[in-house]
């Protein structure tokens, strides 16, 4: 007889007969939540009150949870699953009816009034518990290949994305059709076909163009210039033997951590009517002061300045990934350097260039801060939307139509980009490091590139110097360079009083709100984004493509559009959360989630799927596989997502400018307020303070999450191919 160890451990099949804690935990959460927190937000009724009032939804919900948990306790797993699936479904339908179709619900006795009531946090917890209960139960009946973890993840994420992305946009679209008149289509067409949206008059006369042509022209120009400059910079960095100083890497990250309108602000300080350069030009050369900066040129300059570093990073990556073998092959075929560049290198790079271009185009369309600060009379869709909502004549319907136009543009660019990436497979990035020497650039090209790039780098440095020193001199706008801490003190004074620290500075409120909201949003974004990436990349299930599309969709929705959609969707029942911190967090989580999804999918494509499979054959359920095997190998993606979502939440303007309130003011909104009041120095000082804070925060996140420990040949071991 062969040797066998004494204890045989056979957990597998009989697990099903054990008590299943899952419904029990959900029942506990789903009952305690609304018992302790408000079920209805308007009068603070808790679960007991709602049950006593005879509402059907909470009653059904409690019943489903209690029955499922009870059956699980009794060891009747199939009964528990049945209660979970059917009961959970019925309760959710009742909640949806009562929440979204109050008139209908009141008609059949499901709700007590016909306008509906806002749900409180307790009801939110109950709803989430029911969604999870339902998802877990249907996995028992074969959904999602019996995998409860996948089922619960997919259905929960799907529900949240529908609620916080799909529904607000849908709500906004319907707003576009609502007006005085009953003829919906007429109302919509009347709003859509306005001259100030579509006019092309500026092409042949001095009259102004509509916002739509303005926006598109700006986008095309910004994308063209930023991509061209970034490509030149990338060629110089990768294909010449110039050692770019390490500081260059830092320069590349700066725009990511600067609030979007800061560059515009610095440009005003440099080139505005009273700007430093403008003044110098007048003093020394007699060039008259002008307002050229305010309008298309200024906005364009600011957008290109902020976009180039990102485009540069993408293009450098693609350029490095090009296998030199191809260029070597061309060289052996007697191609000249110019010919190689034109016929091999650039065509192979074309998908990356097009991708960069479209990305810059979408960024330009979505940009709100720079047009607000620098636009002058040059209006674009994002600013027009803003003024339609907050302006004197509050016109949500008109804002919704403008938002639809903007959304149509970005969606078109986004779909084009998706198609492009899908067809770009011939850019082979093989895991094996092809050795070989890339072809040198044609003679004369580097010199030509340098002559453009050096002034550009100079300008970038000047802009950031303004941002960094502007807050610490008396009045940079008037070139009064006496060093002072006055501005910092106005914003960030901290005093010792008898009662301890006193945050006396005027900026502290908005600063701490921003930090708290961002710090709450970042981990949530990482969890939802990476979990979505995992189920999308590693699991097969029906509706995978729809989920992928939905998550990617929110990538293409400009912040201004989301802002409008959120105030329209969330200042009425059932999810009435405008004016709370929660809406800010939700906004950040679902806006930044696609970045987590992309980073996660990219990281997962580097991890051999047989690692997951090995884990599964070793008795690990999907959840454990994720925690013990996949996540530790995804640390770089986790860090990237945490940093990105934190920083983006700190610096975002476009969406949250609609959502902030006096109680929950955000740093960027506060700074925009200062700019509008002409207090440039305080605004710049605040920006500098934030930049320093974010650098510290990034270092802390890196330190906390750490790097994956894989040993000296680590990368090979992960990437070791499957079949």
């Amino acid at each position: 007889m062969p040797r066998r160890s004494k204890a045989r451990h056979r957990p597998p099949t009989d697990r099903i007969a054990m008590i299943d804690r899952f419904p029990v935990i959900l029942a506990a959460a789903g009952l305690i939540g609304p018992a302790a927190l408000a079920y209805h937000a308007d009068d603070g009724t808790r679960l007991a009150g709602a049950l006593a009032a005879g509402h059907a939804a909470p009653a059904l919900g409690c019943l489903a949870l209690v029955l499922a948990a009870g059956a699980s306790f009794a060891g009747a797993q199939r009964a528990s699953a049945l209660f979970g699936a059917v009961g959970g479904m019925l309760a959710l339908v009742a909640m949806i009816l009562a929440g979204f179709f109050p008139a209908l619900a009141a008609g059949i006795g499901f709700a007590d009034n016909e306008v509906g009531r806002p749900i409180g946090p307790g009801a939110g917890i109950l709803a989430l518990a029911l969604v999870a209960l339902f998802a877990g139960a249907i996995a028992r009946f074969g959904a999602f290949r019996n995998d409860r973890f996948v089922s619960v993840s997919v259905i929960t994420i799907g529900t949240l994305v529908v609620l916080f992305v799909f529904w607000p946009v849908l709500r906004m679209l319907s707003e576009a059709f609502q007006g005085e008149s009953e003829a919906r289509a007429a109302v919509f067409l009347d709003r859509l076909l306005q001259g100030d949206i579509w006019s092309l008059a500026c092409l042949w006369s001095t009259a102004r163009c509509g916002v739509a042509p303005n926006t598109v022209i700006l986008g095309i120009l910004a994308a063209f210039f930023s991509t061209t400059l970034a490509l030149g910079l990338a060629l110089l960095a990768v294909r010449t033997n110039v050692r770019f100083p390490r500081a260059f890497d830092a320069l590349a990250i700066l725009p990511i951590i600067t609030p979007p309108f800061v560059i515009g602000l610095a440009l005003i300080v440099l080139f505005g009517r009273t700007g430093l350069v403008t003044g110098a030009l007048w003093d020394w050369f007699g060039i008259p002061r002008s307002r050229w900066l305010y309008g298309l040129p200024g906005v364009l300059l600011a957008q290109v300045l902020s976009q180039v570093p990102l485009s540069f990073l993408i293009l450098v990556g693609s350029l490095k990934a090009l296998s030199p073998t191809l260029e070597e092959a061309a060289q052996t075929l007697r191609a000249t350097r110019t010919r190689i560049l034109m016929t091999v290198t650039l065509p192979l790079l074309l998908p990356a260039i097009a991708n960069t271009y479209l990305l810059a185009f979408v960024e330009s369309l979505a940009d709100f801060g720079n047009p607000l600060v620098l636009g002058g009379n040059f209006e674009v869709l994002s600013t027009k939307i803003f003024f339609a909502v907050v302006g004197a004549q509050h016109e949500p319907g008109r804002a919704a139509v403008l938002a639809m136009v903007l959304l149509a543009f970005t969606l078109a660019a986004f779909l084009l980009q998706m198609r492009l990436l899908a067809n770009a497979s011939f850019v082979t990035v093989s895991g094996k490091g092809d050795s070989g020497v890339p072809a040198a650039l044609p003679k004369g090209l580097p010199a030509g590139l340098w002559s453009v790039i050096i002034p550009w780098i100079g300008l970038t440095i000047a802009v950031y110097s303004i941002v960094l020193i502007g807050g610490f001199v008396k009045d940079i706008g008037r070139f009064d360079m006496t060093p002072t801490l006055d501005h910092l003190r106005t914003g960030f004074l901290v005093e010792w009083t008898d009662n301890g620290l006193f945050w006396a500075g005027s900026a502290w409120d908005s600063f701490w709100t921003t930090v708290l909201v961002s710090a709450a949003a970042a981990p949530l974004t990482a969890i939802i984004g990476l979990l979505t990436a995992y189920v999308l990349a590693r699991q097969k299930f029906h509706g995978r493509r729809s989920l992928e599309f939905l998550t990617m969709l929110s990538f293409a929705i400009p912040g201004t559009v989301i802002g409008v959609a959120y105030i329209l969707a969330f200042n009425v029942p059932p999810v009435e959360i405008t004016g709370t911190g929660f809406i800010l967090i939700a906004c950040f989580v679902f806006r930044n989630m696609p970045v987590g999804v992309r980073a996660g999918i990219a990281a997962l494509s580097q991890i051999d799927p047989s690692l997951d499979e090995a884990s599964a054959t070793l008795r690990a359920r999907t959840g454990r596989t994720l925690v013990a095997v996949v996540l530790p190998l995804m640390k770089p993606a986790i860090v990237a997502t945490l940093i990105f979502s934190f920083v983006h939440a700190m610096t975002a303007v476009s969406a949250i400018i609609f959502l902030v309130t006096a109680r929950y003011n955000m740093a960027t909104a506060y700074i925009v307020g200062r700019v509008e009041a002409g207090e440039y120095s305080l605004a710049i000082a605040y920006c500098a303070f934030m930049i320093v804070f974010m650098i510290v925060a990034i270092a802390t996140i890196r330190l906390l999450v750490g790097e994956a420990r894989l040993g000296r040949r680590g990368s090979e071991a992960i990437a070791a191919g499957g079949h």
Partner: protein
């Protein structure tokens, strides 16, 4: 509980329009080593993954030890697998890798470590506990992967081309080690390879697959001597498949007429008449044309290649072009020579249709 038997009953796996495994049924006895052998894309890996539960069958049933596991996930089946890429967790050291299975099954840390050390010892890997996989040689990594798969003492152990990342010399040793381990521990093993020598060397039974179906399931010896069909005859051992006639049958032996030459082969229950015949490359002996013992076939050597321990010839004969292997013992002939081919008395099989 010891090793278990495995049954496939009418199992089909489809990926969209592609049928990767088509209505396959077979049985592996408890404690046996079965190989899945076949050309690329014939469905071997897919079959193996369905045993593991990494793919769920589109149709049919899978039984382990008589129990239906068709709908159980990988984590719920008592089956482990050694992956082609080994799939060692790169961020865990050797001991943690091997402990992973017991820990996932809820066994305490101390006991899991003890179980892991026992299996590591069995595979000669004591003392490597704290190394990371990236700090091991390919052969050592492979043994860690085997230890990790063994530690749960699974009912069935699967190997997907376990030798393909090893160099030729190590391959022979490791395949002997795997076979010895399987026999010592009495494991049920299913083993995928596309190397027929490897399959013949280690298996109790070989399942030859072709186009998502089973072409033949037999012991290595039977597969060689009695191929069930043209595909197997052709795929195993480079046989020459030619047209012949069964002239007469006496008991178990048939007398064949191959283009006038008369040879004997096992009858395999066939009646006289036309038949396809598999001639192994080493079934024929080369003799000078002038030799007195007439019979056999005459032919002209087209090519002759010297491979050190033997010669390979392509010879034009009335049966068509034949591939013949002969010892390189000094009697080699060159291209253009006229030769006589004489049967050696083995390596010829009729193929039932």
């Amino acid at each position: 509980m010891g090793p278990a038997s495995l049954d496939f009953i009418g199992v089909t796996k489809r990926y969209g329009a592609v049928t990767a495994v088509d209505d396959v049924s077979f049985r592996c006895e408890a404690g046996s080593l079965t190989t899945l052998l076949g050309p690329s894309g014939c469905g071997k890996t897919t079959t193996l993954r369905m045993i593991a539960g990494l793919e769920l069958a589109s149709e049919g049933r899978i039984l382990i030890d008589g129990k239906d596991v068709t709908h159980l996930s990988a984590a719920e089946r008592d089956v482990t697998m050694v992956f082609q890429s080994y799939a060692l967790f790169p961020h865990m050291n050797v001991l943690d890798n091997v402990m992973y299975g017991p820990r996932s099954s809820g066994i305490g840390k101390a006991q899991a470590a003890e179980m892991a050390r026992e299996k590591l010892g069995l595979l000669g890997l004591s003392g490597y506990d704290t190394r990371l996989p990236s700090e091991l040689s390919g052969g050592q990594q492979q043994r860690v992967a085997v230890a990790r798969a063994l530690v749960l003492e699974p009912s069935i152990l699967l190997f997907d081309e376990p030798l393909s990342n090893l160099d030729a010399r190590l391959r022979r040793k490791v395949r002997e080690d795997i076979r010895a381990l399987q026999k010592d521990l009495g494991l049920t093993v299913v083993y995928v390879t596309h190397d027929q020598e490897e399959a013949l060397a280690v298996s109790d039974e070989v399942i030859v697959m072709s186009n998502a179906r089973i072409a033949q399931k037999a012991s290595p010896r039977e597969l060689w001597n009695a191929p069930a069909n043209l595909f197997v005859a052709d795929f195993i051992g480079d046989a020459n498949v030619v047209d012949g006639t069964i002239a007469s049958v006496a008991g178990d032996t048939a007398v064949l007429d191959l283009a006038g030459a008369s040879v004997e082969a096992p009858a395999r229950g066939l009646a006289p008449g036309p038949v396809k015949v598999a001639l192994r490359p080493d079934a024929l002996r080369l003799a000078p044309l002038a030799a007195s013992d007439a019979g056999g076939l005459t032919g002209t050597v087209r090519t002759a290649s010297y491979l050190g321990k033997h010669m390979e010839y392509e010879i034009e004969t009335p049966l068509g072009e034949l591939f013949v292997v002969a010892p390189a013992d000094g009697d080699e002939v060159g291209a253009g020579a006229e030769v006589r081919l004489l049967p050696k008395g083995h390596g010829i099989a009729v193929i039932p249709q």
